[in-house]
């Protein structure tokens, strides 16, 4: 087994025994996902960095409560997202999401698959602007689902609500997003 990278579960086990280096490796695996998730929640890069740091520090303190065999990804993301939510509430501001410029887009050269929509540039901008006009709660659930690419089950862990609540909130948020795009401002 020499040279085999340790699994997440093994790293957690080492970290529980006080091995900070093992924990650092685990953080390295999840830092980008955690940072982006925090960024989607709180909308500010500095706050997202601080929230991710704070979340990982808290998670270390809570390692003893982590259930062996459970998935670390939603557990870590929930702690980071909580830290990000607190900062969002405190800061009262939100930077809009931005689109990459055309030359920065990945050019995989492959033809788009038929089930993936092809949006024109102005449609992308319009859709993003519509997402940014949603309420905090609606925007968060939509960005976590589609931009952070979390499953509904992971979102339930991150938001700390039952799966059914995620489904219904997501569905309502999608309805309101469509309403915003039709030019209405249906917040009901």
């Amino acid at each position: 087994m020499e040279g085999r990278p340790l699994t997440d579960a093994e790293l957690i086990e080492e970290a529980r025994g006080g091995d900070v280096a093992a924990y650092e490796e685990l953080v390295r695996r999840y830092e980008e996902l955690a940072f982006r998730t925090a960024y989607l929640v709180c909308g500010d890069a500095d706050d997202a960095r601080d929230a991710a740091q704070e979340g990982f520090v808290r998670a270390y303190g809570a390692l003893n409560r982590f259930r062996a065999g459970a998935e670390p990804r939603p557990w870590l993301l929930r702690i980071v997202a909580n830290a990000a939510r607190n900062r969002r509430r405190a800061a009262g501001r939100r930077a809009g999401l931005a689109l990459r410029s055309a030359q920065d887009r990945p050019s995989d050269g492959a033809a788009p698959s038929p089930e993936v929509a092809v949006l024109a540039g102005e449609q992308r901008a319009e859709l993003l602007a519509a997402v940014d006009r949603l309420s905090d709660d609606d925007r968060r659930i939509i960005t976590l689902r589609w931009f952070a690419d979390l499953s509904e089950r992971e979102m339930a862990a991150v938001l700390d609500v039952p799966l059914g609540t995620v489904k219904s909130r997501l569905s309502r948020a999608m309805q309101r997003l469509r309403a915003v795009m039709r030019g209405g401002d249906d917040r009901g």
Partner: protein, 265 residues
Amino acid sequence: MTVAEPMAWPPRDEAALASALADLSRDLAYPATPSIASAVTLRLREGSAKGRRRGRRWALPARSIAFALLALLVLAGAAVAFGIVIGGLRISFAPGTPPPLPSAVVQSRAFGSEVSLDEARRRAGFGVLVPSLAAIGQPEHVYFNGVPSGGTVSLVWGPQPGYPASVTGVGLVVTEFQATVDPAVWEKLLYEGTSVSDTLVNGHAALWISGGEHTFFYRDSSGRRVDSSLQVVGDTLIWQRNGLVLRVEGAPSLSAAAEVARSLR
């Protein structure tokens, strides 16, 4: 070969909207992910050093520990057996030369690059002020950061008796830059548990920000608001003087911070 058709706009139903969002997600620009792992490790190592003394695994947020230590120091300042007294606190100094600051601290605090005091004076677009308090001495580290225009100079001392380590390992920081504090934004930027009081430093209006974390905005010389949000982990005195914004962070009390502030030359 499959050719995807342009979709009806706005999306006709929820499935079409979901598909559009999935497409959009590939074109989002995220800020570059900062190095989080090393900063987390730094905080954990600091925490476990404190935790071992108490004989149990450290599990509280570093900030709570920092403030608990701060409170203990304020209550039991007399317990420090040697040094000089400033503002009701005894302050004394560790012998020898200071250890280098970990790079994660420098980076996460947005200090900029480390320079000599002379170089900071050459590069800054303003006259750099340095505390003349004999007890504090010359800064252990000097950093220069090119923003806002005219630059920011940070004078940094490591943890010392009287100036306990903050969560990022820093004892005392004096920051100087050319800008105008926008008083209208203060309220929004303070985190829970932070209080702000008005005070005076040499006759200049000043704010004493204590008990919590805060970030702040400033305006550059063209009047544009800059969201630099320097993370502050200690109590801070901030004031303006002749077009400069000056901050003293990490002093254990308002009177100690004011003492440092008044000594700037």
